[in-house]
């Protein structure tokens, strides 16, 4: 499959590398076609990996993954425009994190809106699926790093797109389909993005590393 990755950070790198390794063609997009990080990444992985602008990477992908820092995702997608991703699935894995005045990590917006919703509203003809944003990128691509059952949350307005993304997450990374919880429409992105403050506290203050996940345990 041809996949466009928007963003050259830790998450884009982890997802892009894994997808090339399992045989897909991946173009990593960034603000300029000459981005050093993206070029180094592509040249280290051989001919199935390429670097390009956000717009060209999005045009390249049959599926596009938005991995930019969440406070920059709208700018990156604005530089893509609607046409290169019309009708395509866009997987949004980012959280709109920023530093508060006191240095603590907060969300740039939340509660009555979310990044997933902003993207879907800006690109009404793109099939936005929010997924993977509740785990560290090492867990995204290798869920077995966390033992036993644990959950991913997925949401979006297009049921067929969610089904396809669920199958991709299983095929690409080994997520058990039964562990992927469909929360409904894209407004559910509020809930998954708002898990970040607790996630950060667990990461920084309790567990000390990012290799953990949530499991929903059901009673009667």
């Amino acid at each position: 499959m041809k996949i466009g990755i928007l963003g050259t950070g830790m998450v884009g790198n982890a997802l892009g590398t894994k997808l090339v390794q399992i045989g897909h063609e991946v173009t990593m997009g960034s603000r300029s076609a000459n981005n050093e990080t993206a070029r180094k990444w592509a040249s280290s992985l051989g001919e199935r990996a390429r670097s390009a602008t956000f717009r060209d990477a999005a045009a390249f992908g049959e599926v596009v993954i938005s991995c930019t820092g969440g406070m920059h995702s709208m700018d990156a997608l604005e530089s893509v425009g609607a046409d290169p991703i019309r009708g395509k699935i866009l997987i949004d894995v980012s959280n709109p994190l920023q530093q508060d005045k006191d240095g603590s990590v907060i969300l740039g917006f939340c509660n009555t809106e979310s990044l997933g919703e902003r993207i879907q509203r800006a690109l009404p003809q793109t099939r936005v699926v929010k997924a993977l944003n509740t785990v560290n990128c090492d867990i995204m691509i290798e869920p077995s790093r966390v033992p036993g059952d644990h959950n991913l949350f997925i949401c979006g307005n297009d049921p067929a797109a969610k089904k396809q993304v669920t199958e991709c997450l299983s095929d690409w990374f080994g997520w058990k389909i039964d562990n992927i919880i469909d929360l409904g429409d894209i407004t559910a992105a509020r809930g998954t993005e708002m898990m970040m403050p607790l996630w950060m506290r667990l990461f920084q203050g309790v567990i000390g590393h990012p290799h953990f996940n949530w499991q929903i345990v059901r009673g009667q």
Copy 2:
């Protein structure tokens, strides 16, 4: 132990009833001393249960539990004043939920603040511990309704108070001490209160009942 419960809703009723049943003396507080719900509750449980004003219930308790609707907690505590709970442990179990214009449930405030922080700031000489706010009240008092291991989160500025509350949750309700995660100071209440949008989505849209909980699964 003498325990003051602030609030006559579902949560105050569940906690108060359980605490009376296991032998504690409980006074349920509300805005007026003649609150019908509180009087009925007390008369149904015998002499260890009483009803009173918020202020008298707080004065009665060696430990006080704030169970009012989260958007009303500050008003209730203002009517208590600082003196009746000076030096005492106040367990805050509420979330500042409210309905948005479109009918969806949102938080009245979040992200850069929390109800736990507001209470601690208003009552600097009270030892505020945020706990139990991430589970339904049936699970609060009977964690074994959800099978296996699953977690509670606790936070507050006073380590000794958190230790005592942890022991109370174990003694009163049967929570395993190893499953109670200390997140640090009271600002961590932001994170646990912000789990509510996902909790609501799981409750209303996915699971269909409130008897579930989170487990943090650790990898390497």
